[in-house]
């Protein structure tokens, strides 16, 4: 293992600024690490060495000529393969997009390139970001660097595994019901979902448009804050992107959290949470008290309805979003001659995997005549109740603490029942329903597997969230341990 791959993005940045190292050296170290370990971890779907090295050389040349550069210029990053990279295959983990080469750039990709970050490749995911383990990927299952027989979580499992395996210091994921935070938790890294609308979704291949949000993943809280600085901001290409001004989201890191009001919603400690996870989260809560926070139990009474309403709303939106895959304009087309409807039906049957088909069908059913009011409208009403629960809690508290995932990383194939798999997101789904920012940070181990703590805050209070996460991270050592991958 090269020393360069153990550096955080911030450490990389400092060494780049002092010209102790070049971006080419850092990028080569990342590519060599990928070459050495990705045969086992399988975090990546596509690696782009030539592109990455060319980008690194451009940043090095700019630095040599004294041009002003962004803080993370020259730092390698990996992207979940549902963000469009022009000229680089973008699959969303689906066979239906197996040969898709986007003609345009996602806004996050343009922003990263403008900031000089070096994109080294595209990471694996559950097909169209639907899943919690990468086992639904149309290509392969990624492995958890802490135990290669276990899943890295999902759907951003490749992005989480790549960071945990020291292939890159930071990556981007997308989070619709927990898809950044749950894999971060299972891989022992930091993963953050910003407020809905903070980061443009333009060029993010859609799953459920009212819930999807792109966010950073890294080994430290500061790295995630700095990466969010690079990608956040209003975008005219995404009408749901917020006009709320961006700020330096790392500004609170290092400040005291004395007097921070923390709520512990009691509903999040049932829900199949294992004793190990509950104990680790309780210990973290005690640590927060030690750091001067004021901790109180609270209640979010509609939590138990979140999962069911999510599995109406997200599939309803996906059934509409995925209607575009018809075998005409791009993507896979069946070779069978089948007439007009038959062409579409066969193309989609061949191109989509079982989980995606299931969600399209449940969404279609929930939106169909006679069921719309009973399911879709009711789910949206429940969504209002869930949001109100959080509004009420945030009148009393700055931050809420819960487990990120009810358990640690599970074995590949262990959750064969689709419903059991869906329960892996029970602690993260309500946050997307309310559009809130939340972060998962390491808070312990059980039998050698990482446990994650989830912090949630009010809309647009990301700086406060990073402040609270950073204080705990600095007071503990959980995140400093590397996966025992050789």
């Amino acid at each position: 293992m090269s020393d360069l791959t153990t550096l955080t993005a911030l450490e990389c940045s400092r060494k780049l600024v002092s010209k102790e190292i070049s971006s080419r050296e850092l990028t080569e170290a990342a590519l060599n690490r990928i070459e050495a370990v990705d045969g086992k971890v399988r975090a990546f779907l596509t690696v782009t060495p030539e592109r990455a090295l060319a980008a690194a050389d451009r940043v090095d040349a700019k630095r040599a000529s004294g041009e002003p550069l962004s803080p993370l210029a020259g730092v390698p990053i990996a992207l979940k393969d549902n963000m469009c990279t022009p000229g680089v295959r973008t699959t969303a983990g689906s066979k239906i997009l197996g040969n898709f080469v986007p003609p345009y750039s996602a806004t996050v990709v343009s922003k990263l390139e403008q900031a000089g970050l070096i994109i080294v490749g595209k990471t694996n995911l559950d097909e169209f970001a639907m899943g919690s383990s990468t086992e639904n990927s149309g290509f392969h299952t990624s492995r958890n660097p802490w135990d290669l027989d276990r899943v890295p979580g999902g759907s951003s499992g490749g992005s989480a595994a790549a960071v945990a395996a020291l292939e890159v210091p930071v990556s981007l994921g997308s989070d619709t019901g927990g898809s950044i935070r749950q894999p971060a938790s299972l891989c022992g890294i930091v993963g953050m979902k910003p407020t809905y609308g903070r980061v443009s979704r333009y060029g993010l291949i859609a799953y459920a448009s009212s819930l999807d949000q792109i966010g950073p993943m890294g080994r430290t809280v500061l790295d995630c804050a700095l990466t969010l600085n690079a990608i956040a901001g209003h975008d005219t290409m995404d009408s749901t992107s917020t006009e709320v001004a961006t700020e330096d989201f790392s500004a609170g890191c290092g400040k005291s959290i004395a007097g921070l009001r923390i709520g512990v919603p009691k509903e999040y400690f049932g829900q199949g949470v294992t004793p190990d996870v509950a104990a680790a989260v309780q210990a973290a809560i005690a640590k927060y008290t030690e750091l001067g926070a004021i901790v109180e139990e609270c209640s979010l009474p509609n939590t138990e309805y979140a999962l069911a309403s999510y599995y109406i709303i997200a599939p309803a939106e996906c059934s509409s979003n995925l209607a575009r895959f018809d075998g005409v304009k791009y993507g896979h087309r069946t070779n069978e001659l089948a007439g007009h409807i038959g062409l579409t039906e066969k193309t989609r049957d061949e191109g989509f995997g079982a989980e995606v088909k299931q969600r399209i069908m449940i969404g279609t059913y929930a939106l169909s005549a006679g069921y719309y009011d009973a399911y879709y409208k009711r789910a949206q009403q429940v969504r209002t109740l869930i949001r109100r629960d959080f509004d009420t809690a945030f009148e009393r508290f700055d931050v809420l603490i819960t487990p990120t995932s009810p358990g640690t990383a599970f074995k590949i194939g262990e959750k064969a029942d689709p419903l059991e798999m869906k329960l892996a997101d029970v602690c993260t789904i309500p946050i997307n329903m309310a559009g809130l920012p939340a972060i998962s940070i390491p808070c312990g181990f059980a039998e050698g597997l990482p446990i994650g703590l989830q912090l949630i805050t009010r809309p647009y209070a990301e700086t406060k969230l990073f402040n609270a996460a950073h204080a705990y991270e600095q007071a503990t050592q959980w995140g400093q341990k590397f996966a025992p991958l050789t």
Partner: protein, 96 residues
């Protein structure tokens, strides 16, 4: 209320998915498992509760109708399964 195999086939048609018989078997149970999860919602009193479609307040965004640079036709057609003479090609659907 459980979905039968026939119901699943009907929803598959609405979803434009031609499932094999085996797939219909595989999909019926998870679909019914989800529907059963939804039962809990039906018991909840939501009288007078406004539905939320977006967690954050979003409004329609308008802009001037101005011509701006966009993708070229070749770029747009580059990913088409089949293209010819600047058009997407689809199989013939009307008999001779």
């Amino acid at each position: 209320m459980a979905l039968t195999r026939e119901d699943v086939k009907k929803v598959a048609l609405l979803s434009r998915l031609e499932l094999t018989d085996e797939e219909v078997d595989v999909q019926t149970k998870p679909l019914n498992d989800l529907l059963q999860q939804f039962e809990a919602l039906l018991a909840l009193d939501v009288t007078g509760v406004e539905p939320t479609s977006h967690s954050m307040p979003v409004v329609n965004v308008f802009r001037q109708d101005e011509i701006k640079p966009s993708l070229t036709r070749d770029q747009v057609l580059a990913n088409a399964p089949e293209a010819r003479d600047g058009c997407f090609v689809v199989p013939k659907i009307i008999a001779e």
